[in-house]
Symmetry: C2
Subunit: 231 residues, 2 copies
């Protein structure tokens, strides 16, 4: 099936590049250079950028070009809080509807995380962690909710990656995963929801604390627009 449009492939490529950290928040994505880089005209590039903009991945300001979104610390916290609520919902449903297939998928992903954590391989853990969370999304047996969850997960990946650098955070994360699995398997939807909520939100809180440089205050976001500039 080689019937896929260029614009769609480009959308994927640009998204991947952003997720991989090749383009940092604040970087400009001008159509001409991207067109040259991918060996196409501006048209499919534009179409890809507009779609990514509609998905919230990047900011496309009329007449002023596209940049990788630079959320304020407050906004970032809100995004993590929303992620926490959505993942909670997935866990709640998963606890009620768990099937053997979904259980096995979560187990496999969890085992992979365990290995990566033991070896302190944060890059690998980052990948396995994504699979673990995706397995939970699917276990909700609500494919629409799962899609929404995964989309937001991707949008936050740039920030989560930074958070998972610390080694002890890796082990703590793994332990939380175990607790989540336990609750889902016990069919305790309430507990699964709160454990997932806390697991996700602690990342967001730690991250915005990190960005703010001070703990416990998420109101002051004046210094937000000063981050990353293109090389």
């Amino acid at each position: 099936m080689y019937t896929m449009s260029q614009a769609f492939r480009l959308k994927q490529s640009i998204e991947d590049a952003v997720i991989a950290g090749e383009f940092l928040p604040g970087d400009r994505l001008d159509e001409a250079s991207l067109a040259e880089r991918f060996g196409v005209s501006r048209t499919p590039i534009r179409e890809a950028l507009l779609q990514l903009g509609a998905e919230g991945f990047i900011d496309v300001r009329p007449r002023r070009g596209a940049i990788v979104s630079v959320p304020t610390p407050t906004r970032l916290f809100e995004m993590f809080e929303t992620m926490a609520e959505i993942e909670s919902a997935c866990g709640r449903l998963a606890a009620r509807r768990l099937t053997p297939d979904n259980d096995a998928a979560m187990e496999t992903a969890h085992r992979a995380c365990e290995i990566a954590a033991r070896e302190g391989d944060s890059e690998q853990y980052y990948a396995d962690n994504r699979n673990f969370h995706e397995a939970i999304y699917r276990a909700s047996r609500n494919s629409f909710l799962a899609d929404q969850a995964f989309a937001l997960h991707k949008r936050l990946s740039a920030y989560r990656r930074i958070q998972l650098r610390a080694r002890n955070r890796l082990l703590q994360s793994l332990q939380e995963h175990a607790g989540i699995l336990e609750a889902i398997r016990a069919g305790d939807d309430q507990l699964a929801a709160t454990r997932l909520h806390d697991h996700v939100l602690v990342q967001g809180e730690r991250f915005s604390d990190m960005v703010l440089g001070l703990a416990g205050d998420r109101r002051s976001d004046a210094a937000a627009s000063k981050s990353g500039t293109a090389k």
Copy 2:
């Protein structure tokens, strides 16, 4: 400020037309006729369609054009279930964080619903109902979550409208609103969440029952792709 691009205006216009029911699920949105209708070239039309596609409002299939999405009954149920979870989250946060402004906004919207319901004006209730729910989204004091909620609310509007036609449903809906408000004001986040969840999900369940033509089975969605065709 007349600096807004055509593509953006078109996106809004097409979205409005879909929400207003001018284009029904399944209707084809071909670039040429839309271009003629709006007096522009295909380019900005294409850009608008691609953006709407990225937001999930319409389906753009490569080389096969765009159509207004035709969710299967199962998919529709999943969307309502997701809406229920997101609205729950909004209500839960609102119950914890309620401010006088947000309280007043909800009250105003609720009063408007009350009048429309008493008069049996379902078209008016439809509009006021949207405001009421939007007031709850904002009361969550998480603007990102509120945006997500509103976006999904818009996507479902075509289906909710049909549901609200019945008069007794109007009065029941209003009563549920009262209960939701009560729980939020009492600061009972748990109760607010479950009441909102049930309020939203009952719509989804009733609707998919309606689509299926049979109650209690949401598995058989074979007849899904048979709905609306362009005139």
